[in-house]
Amino acid sequence: MHLPRLSRPSRPRPSRRPRLALAGAALAALTLAACGNPADSATDEGGDDDREVTHARGEATVPADPQRVVVLEPVQLDTAVALGMTPVGAAVLNEAAGVPAYLGDDADDVQTVGTVTEPDVDKIAALRPDLIIGTETRHSALYDQLSDVAPTVYMASQSDPWQDNVRFTAAALGDPEGADELLEGYQERCDEIAAEFDTEGRTAQLVRPRDGLVTLYGPTSFAGATLECAGFTTPERPEFAEEISVDLSPERVLEAQADLVLVTTTDVEDESTIPPSITANAASFPELHLVDQSFWITGVGPLGGQTVLDDLERILSGS
């Protein structure tokens, strides 16, 4: 039982070594002369092509400029696409829907490799990735298997502040400055909307219907943070001190009231997706809009954030 396991990590190498050696020989003169970094090239086969990434599992050696990246978390996919480093494969929230449409044409060619909660290691291996990015809290048990396929780095937790996860992903991809640019762009867009619509002092509440219950998202959630970034305040609740969201009985639906109430749905045109408990109290929800959950809830990342802000601007200019 141990023998095949021991031999597995070395399997991809025999095919890569000759290529690496050739490429190394060909590039040696160029790179050594150009970059002047002989210390690195002396260490091992990777040479200039490698760098170290500190992640949830310690240190990992990854390619300096990864070409075939597989990501296992929506925020990583969003960040990679935003940086122009479209992955070859991504685990998705919903296999039937595939890669989220809001990511645009760039993401059309991304192959799905199972769901975020159950990535498919065989599909990942078939894509011959040179870097895999996952999440310790979700994919902990898969680390050894994935490391056999390609260098693998883990983000600590999907519940950490999303901007930190954007920075981690960009650093893993070798473009830490890219993250700063994206996040600055997001902040600027927030400020623009706040100034244009004078959102200061107004409250906004994102509501997600959940099988009869209504879930309110708080200021630490992705959508809640984006609303606050655009100048709105989330109505205070004691639960938000510790939780990103709170489930409400339909009997307490009036606690979801705010100056702007956004209800998530899969079809913004279909008013019947507004929960009956809210429809019954229509007078208490004068400013209510249906919004697309594919980015308001699951579009965590700089592109999703921009999409949410565009949608928010559309809603605010319409009302």
Binding site: L93, A96, T117, P250, E251, P275
Partner: protein, 330 residues
């Protein structure tokens, strides 16, 4: 023995108590005076919403689900002569769950009110398949093959449901409460939609009830006593399927009610199947209503699905009863 208060009398008192609790108690506290005002058409808008839009419709749904589960459970245990049979045995709950999973994953259905037709269709289809595959050719043979077929079909459907939910975990997170069995946000429209099924099921149950005592003695004995086994089987199957499908369509698969209620009732009222059937109906209502009320206040400001509460109450009761072997025999 005559001094002991009759369990049936206690149960009859429990019904109005459970109804009152279901209208008075909820996750948004409304003083009893305001509840009364709302019931009589007055009171403030919030109280009227909570009482008239939330608690009354789900109380009606709870009564219907409790009746259907109590009766179909009692019928199932009598028909299969198995004291631990559950009305879901013929694939009804699994069929309903599977159809709702398909609706959520592929048809974009999101609200419990819209699940109802899918659940009814899935439940009826699954039980038709089970009956077609497993119906005994000789009516004197006990329906063991039917039960095994039901378990097998149920297992296949449960596997498929899990497969679908794994492909879209996000959508399934939203319907977790349905899968646990719940009365949250069940308007009159949901209950009304399945009312015809339940009326037909109740009629079939009433028609088959007189033959159940003879069948309980053994199918050969029943036939010797002049019971038309084919007719009786057909009615029992129709009643179990229609009632369990109706209950699953309204509330989702509520656990343990159809299993524990007739079991406890048999222990209280003796061996007359007609009495067991009637008392199970009433006890089912009480259990479902009380479980729903407990669920409303268990995890404020949210709610716990009634099906989780019935499992919490039902499982220990079942273990206790199973240990009293004298009471569990049929």
């Amino acid at each position: 023995m005559t001094l002991r208060p009759s369990p049936v009398a206690l149960l009859v008192l429990a019904v109005p108590a459970a109804l009152a609790l279901s209208v008075l108690v909820g996750s948004n506290p409304v003083p009893p005076g305001d509840v009364w005002a709302a019931l009589t058409g007055g009171g403030d808008a919030t109280a009227r919403f909570v009482v008239a839009d939330q608690r009354l419709p789900r109380t009606v749904a709870g009564v219907v689900v409790g009746l259907a589960l109590g009766v179909s459970g009692a019928l199932m245990q009598a028909y299969t002569r198995n004291p631990f049979a559950d009305p879901g045995l013929f694939g009804v709950s699994a069929g309903a769950s599977f159809a709702v999973a398909v609706a959520v994953a592929y048809a974009g259905v999101t609200a419990p009110a819209a699940y109802v037709w899918w659940a009814v269709g899935g439940a009826l289809l699954a039980s038709l398949v089970v009956v077609a595959l497993g119906r005994p050719t000789d009516p004197r043979v006990p329906p063991t093959r039917l039960v095994l077929t039901g378990v097998a079909v149920g297992a296949v459907l449960a596997g498929l449901t899990t497969g679908i939910s794994l492909s879209d975990p996000d959508a399934f997170e939203r319907m977790l409460t349905w899968h646990a069995g719940s009365l949250i946000d069940r308007g009159y429209a949901v209950t009304l939609a399945v009312a015809p099924l339940l009326v037909l099921g109740a009629l079939a149950a009433a028609a088959t009830a007189p033959s159940l005592n003879a069948i309980a003695l053994g199918r050969d004995v029943a036939q010797a006593q002049g019971v038309d086994l084919r007719r009786s089987d057909l009615l029992a199957l129709a009643a179990i399927t229609l009632l369990a499908a109706g209950a699953a369509a309204v509330a989702g698969p509520v656990a343990f009610v159809g299993l524990v209620v007739p079991h406890v009732v048999r222990w209280c009222v003796g061996v007359d199947q007609r009495r067991i059937l009637g008392v199970s109906a009433v006890a089912g209502v009480v259990l479902v209503l009380v479980a729903d009320v407990v669920g409303r206040v268990a995890v404020l400001p949210g709610e716990m699905p009634a099906g989780i509460v019935t499992a919490f109450i039902g499982a220990p009761v079942l273990v206790l009863l199973a240990r009293r072997s004298r009471a569990t025999g049929l």
